[in-house]
């Protein structure tokens, strides 16, 4: 019996060792095998506080501040720490209802119960004051300083673009962005996003079980400081931009002005537009929807880059240049014109009464349709080429060398290619070898399939002003420092027409203003060279187009003006261009009567007034 009992010692020892082994195995599992506990421990105490850098500023070409930041505050929530708050009090402070409160909290909890989410974004400084006093009553809520984009002038909304919260798609694509981060969505805010945004910083702080801040984690060893965004120096003359938008009041269209020697964009007006401050801060979503809903005036549509027009008679300058280059035209070439140019089957391209026959300068001055139809015909029917198609291809190549029919590469998103039809297009439309110069004769006078953006027109004007070359138009000249120019914009693009053929065209353009189709654009103190265009438009009244540069020698400004449904180029576009040139070169405009007439001209059925008022109402929200 005693021996049996003595054996029980081993059973008892075995039992003890069993317990010890279970504990060791469990410890091994909990401490070595799984990682969730260390993650939970960090979640318990560590708060990752993002340090948002100030976005870079934007200055105009004279150093005037255009875009800057204003302090704003995001109300953050950590759902786990929210202790049945006095919902009503917080709701009334924020101006939301209980239902909205619950749904926001639910959304935040779905993201993470431990990590902060934005509860109310971009609270302005004024509103923040009320909130700050009461905030201690609501555990789980705190504010995070952010910045709000502000614009010194209510102009150039499309050029600046706007910023907004990074979308889930962006976040999935680019690991830099986290929910709640801001990102440039359009304009230079988008194209210079990586320069402007700066570098976010991260502060890791330790919080105890009662959510008391216990200081930085490991004495800030893992903290990073935010680096402010880099400032941009724009090419824009904000006074000119503002003046341009004023002139375009109640008109659809655009004004693009470029400094020919540099390609710097002096103004990029598109009309109708809106106040860029409308799309900043927590009013953005609401205002954006309202602007988007306006399908009549489409204020979000950037006509300067995204609207294609037939260039009309301005395109005759292309005929003049390419014709000389191809050797089928000299300044002395004369063609007669009896109110038009017959194209067969009893049809003709009509022309207006003028002296006949004319040489090249006279033809530009009077914008003779017949003359340029003949020039175009001789280019396409040139026997130097084995057939229409080859001659057309060559013509197209030379035309495109002026920056037509493809993106110029402006530093803004959304630019259109424009359209110089390919031979393949005509093959498809008319059949292979079934089209001749007379089939496509409307190209001669800038009608038909050709499509040009206002930016391309202005660039064309700059290329003539430079007598044969241009630099890529751009909105930002320097990054960080005033004199650190952006390299890619310093390249000269030579066009396919020899410089010696330009002077006669320039002479013709000077005559357009002094004694031709656009005498309304005449400015006594400066010699302006210009060309009118009147683009036929299937949707309504003709578009009024004018391109110009000035002064004639050593030009400082090249410009394109498009006024939709405004009739002749000489009526609206030419005087507006002239006023813009005066404003830019002289800084003040003396021709108050012209100015008044232009500003007062309402080309959008008077309904546009209501629209402007609507926008003003929005801004007061």
């Amino acid at each position: 019996m005693e021996r049996v009992l003595a054996f029980r010692k081993y059973l008892i020892l075995g039992f003890i060792l069993l317990i010890a082994s279970i504990f060791l195995a469990r410890l091994f599992y909990v401490q070595i095998m799984v990682d969730k506990y260390i993650l939970s421990a960090n979640n318990n105490v560590l708060r990752y506080m993002t340090q948002y850098p100030a976005r870079g500023l934007v200055f105009d070409r004279y150093g005037e501040l255009l875009v800057y930041n204003e302090a704003a505050y995001d109300l953050m929530v950590i759902p786990k720490q929210v202790k049945k708050p006095d919902t009503a009090a917080l709701c009334s402070l924020l101006g939301i209802d209980a239902e909205e409160f619950r749904s926001r909290l639910q959304k935040a909890r779905a993201f993470s119960p431990y990590r902060p989410s934005i509860f109310e974004a971009q609270i302005t400084r004024e509103n923040f004051g009320f909130l700050e006093e009461k905030l201690f009553l609501f555990p789980g809520f705190y504010v995070q300083p952010r910045t709000l984009r502000k614009y010194s002038y209510p102009v150039a909304a499309h050029a600046f673009g706007y910023i907004g919260e990074a979308s889930p798609e962006v976040i999935a694509r680019n690991p830099y962005y986290r929910p709640g981060d801001y990102i440039g969505i359009s304009g230079i805010e988008k194209s210079y996003e990586e320069v402007l945004r700066g570098q976010k910083g991260m502060k890791i702080r330790v919080f105890d079980v009662l959510n008391r801040d216990k200081g930085s984690f490991r004495d800030g060893k893992y903290d990073t400081t935010a680096v402010a965004g880099i400032d941009l120096y724009a090419t824009m003359d904000v006074q000119l931009q503002q003046y341009g938008e004023l002139l375009m009041t109640n008109k659809k269209g655009s004004i693009v002005a470029i400094e020919p020697s540099t390609g710097e964009i002096l103004c990029l007006v598109t009309s109708p537009s809106y106040d860029p401050n409308l799309l900043s801060g927590n009013i953005r979503k609401k205002n954006y929807s309202a602007l988007l809903a306006d399908t009549v005036y489409v204020p979000l549509f950037n006509r300067a880059l995204m609207a294609m027009y037939p260039p009309g008679s301005t395109f005759k300058l292309v005929d003049a240049l390419v014709g000389q280059q191809e050797g089928v035209l000299t300044p002395e070439t004369r063609y007669g014109c009896q109110l038009g140019f017959a194209i067969g089957n009893g049809k003709k391209v009509a022309c207006h009464p003028h002296p006949s026959p004319l040489d090249l300068i006279g033809a530009i001055q009077t914008s003779c349709n017949a003359y340029f139809c003949r020039v175009f015909k001789s280019i396409i029917d040139n026997h130097a080429y084995p057939g229409t198609r080859k001659a057309y291809e060559n013509w197209r190549k030379e035309v495109m060398s002026f920056g037509f029919g493809k993106k110029l590469g402006i530093d803004m998103p959304g630019e259109l290619n424009g359209n110089i039809p390919s031979p393949a297009y005509y093959d498809k439309y008319h059949g292979v070898n079934r089209w001749r110069s007379m089939t496509i004769i409307s190209l001669a006078i800038g009608q038909g399939e050709v499509g040009i953006t206002p930016l391309q027109l202005a660039n064309f004007s700059a290329a003539i002003a430079n007598r044969g070359w241009f630099r890529t138009p751009h909105l930002i000249r320097a990054i960080g420092k005033k004199d650190s120019l952006i390299g890619e914009f310093t390249t000269r693009h030579q066009v396919a027409v020899d410089p010696r053929y330009f002077e006669v065209v320039v002479e013709g353009m000077a005559n357009v203003v002094t004694a031709g189709t656009a005498t309304g654009a005449k400015l006594d103190s400066v010699e302006i060279c210009g060309k009118t265009g009147t683009a036929q438009n299937p949707h309504g009244k003709n578009h009024s187009i004018f391109i110009a540069f000035a002064p004639r020698n050593n030009p400082k400004i090249a410009i394109s003006v498009v006024c939709e449904n405004a009739g002749f180029g000489a009526t609206w576009a030419a005087p507006i261009a002239s006023l813009m040139i005066e404003k830019y070169l002289k800084r003040t405009v003396k021709r108050k009567d012209v100015e008044e007439r232009m500003i007062g001209g309402n080309l959008i059925n008077g309904k546009y007034d209501d629209d402007k008022r609507k926008q003003r109402d929005l801004s007061q929200d």
Binding site: M1, L5, A6, R8, K9, I12, L13, I16, L17, I19, A20, I22, F23, L24, R26, L27, F28, V30, Q31, I32, V34, K36, Y37, I38, S40, A41, N42, N44, V45, V206, F207, D208, V209, L210, K214
Partner: protein, 420 residues
Amino acid sequence: MTRENKGIFHRIDWVLVVLYLSMLLIGWLSIYAAVYDENHYHIFDLTQKYGKQMVFIIAALLLAMGILIIDPKFFSQFTWFIYGFFLFMLVVVIFSGREIAGSKGWFAIGGFGIQPAEFAKMATALALAKYLSLQDIDLRKYKNVIGAATIILIPALIVMLQHDTGSAIVFLALVIVLYRAGLTGFVPLAFIGLPVLAILALLINKLILVAILVLIAGGFYFFSKRKIRTSLLILALFLGLSGFVFSVDYSVHHILKSHQRNRIEVLIGKQTDLKGAGYNVNQSLIAIGSGKLFGKGFLQGTQTKYNFVPEQSTDFIFCTIGEEWGFVGSALLVILFTGMIVRLIQRAERQRSRFSRFYGYGVASIILFHFAINIGMTLGLVPVIGIPLPFISYGGSSLWAFTILLFIFIRQDSSRFELV
């Protein structure tokens, strides 16, 4: 030189003493880490728990030395007096004691609380050893089993009346002593088997469980000698266990208190409310699990330092060790405890005196039970039962009681050649 002439310090088991001292040191440092306050960074600061624990430790060492110089026969001769005295104190404390954390088991003496239940374990271990060492005691006789059970159950029931269920259950650990003394193996088997069966009953379909019982009973019947008596016994056992299976739900919902029910439901995963009933165990696991292999380092435990773990200087002290010393430190402590318990059993087996041997088993059982339940609780293996980790947890009563418990045995062991 005869053995009697050798000094007491040459005859005591230094392995146990060194294990004891190292646990005291680990305990003290862990309490320092658990309640560390930058404004009172000094470990000797008497306003803080670690300063107080140091005083408790000094007092415990004095107690230990005092016990070592007492005549070893004193304890066996005065067993009944000691037992009676602490039973009396257990009753007195119900009427005149202070209530701490829902339990009325504390005497307030000066600024300190004394908890007689801690000492009653020692007294009961003595009494049980004394009873089992009496002539003619044979645990195959029901009369003697009832006698032994009475010695264990009286203090347990009184402690129960103090609303301190955890401490009361500890007394049941002494069944190991009874088993070693000859009690049938069915009793300890039932002690382990019934809780397992209860948890199974909560987890799986009861009919399946009963079907399994039928198979087991059938198996036993088939391999037994198929006498009437055995068959009836198997049938009775089967019916009893089946009844037990079906009564578990009722017991859980109507007999247990709500917090006890919650703790069981958390253990078996029926409650996963990490902010409510599951909070303690979850935070405890986070603390231990986040220690990884080498731990976060002394005073670097964030779970501990920022008070995510409740009761971290007392019942959940093991979290601090797990978090700051990692698997290496935790495993070392488990090995230290296992070593102490195994050593106690080995030394107990060497005793000539039945009293000393059974007392040694009593000491081992009580320490084993505390160790198993306390660490098992922090690891989420057993329900939360609020009993301290011997020698480690903060608290004077617990430390002194365990010191006395252990050193009476060390004293007996040192004189094992004189005691018969």
